[in-house]
Subunit: 124 residues, 2 copies
Amino acid sequence: MDMATLGELERSVMDLLWDSAEALTAGDIRDGLARGDAAGTGKDLAVTTVLTVLSRLEAKNFVTRDRDTRPHLFHASTSRAAHMAELMHEVLGAAPDREAVLARFVGQVSPSEVAALRRMLDGK
Amino acid sequence: MDMATLGELERSVMDLLWDSAEALTAGDIRDGLARGDAAGTGKDLAVTTVLTVLSRLEAKNFVTRDRDTRPHLFHASTSRAAHMAELMHEVLGAAPDREAVLARFVGQVSPSEVAALRRMLDGK
DNA sequence: CATTGATTTCTACGTCATGTAAAATATGGA
DNA sequence: TCCATATTTTACATGACGTAGAAATCAATG
């Protein structure tokens, strides 16, 4: 059950999907990448490249594809926050000394985030 | 400044080093791996293989090597907890919506760990 | 229904990280 | 000096990813 990791481009594509409320077409993504919307340095890629990446992301269950519309529509299957949180849990889960890790982790959280954490814990 | 990631074998080697109080020789590690001490499924590797991996880990600054003794002595340059915590921060840092991620993260922490977290936050 | 332009799928290749280890070299004693 | 042991070099296979051309498919339209 371990989370597949993402490459640079794959990550950029996910960022575009995550940052967009609606589903996007391969073309939309291609343009977003060209425009440099996501961190991915304004690369000018072929649409087939984007489609290949999208297929791989689909295989990894990171995106879902709507095949009923003509330019297929793609959307992230998980929110970025959920994904990131899961990644963090995965790291934590790989350690035998979980509490020690948590301690270190908390030790380096910024003050404002410490406050946020307190609130979160209280509201549980 | 991004943390290099570790492969399967590299990770097993680090686990052995992390689990050992003292520094180890390549032979020690080879044996530990053969014995199946670390998660690494009891692989029977050549010592040169282990040395190659150790060199790579050294390049990645995960281990330090003592060249003054004959069989060189290797030891982890960071504790596992510190490494894991750093990884977690790296994931968190890659998200624009840090608090959202933290919220999700906390949402899935076990009760006992929630308590631990509270204590940690209090003692700050 | 045949044609064509758009879209998707297949196929392919380069590169890089990693696992793996033999060959070559260095080193420290006998 | 010579040997046994340890380290460094060199090498190759594999798999993930970036990248995209070629081939196949599909939807509209004449």
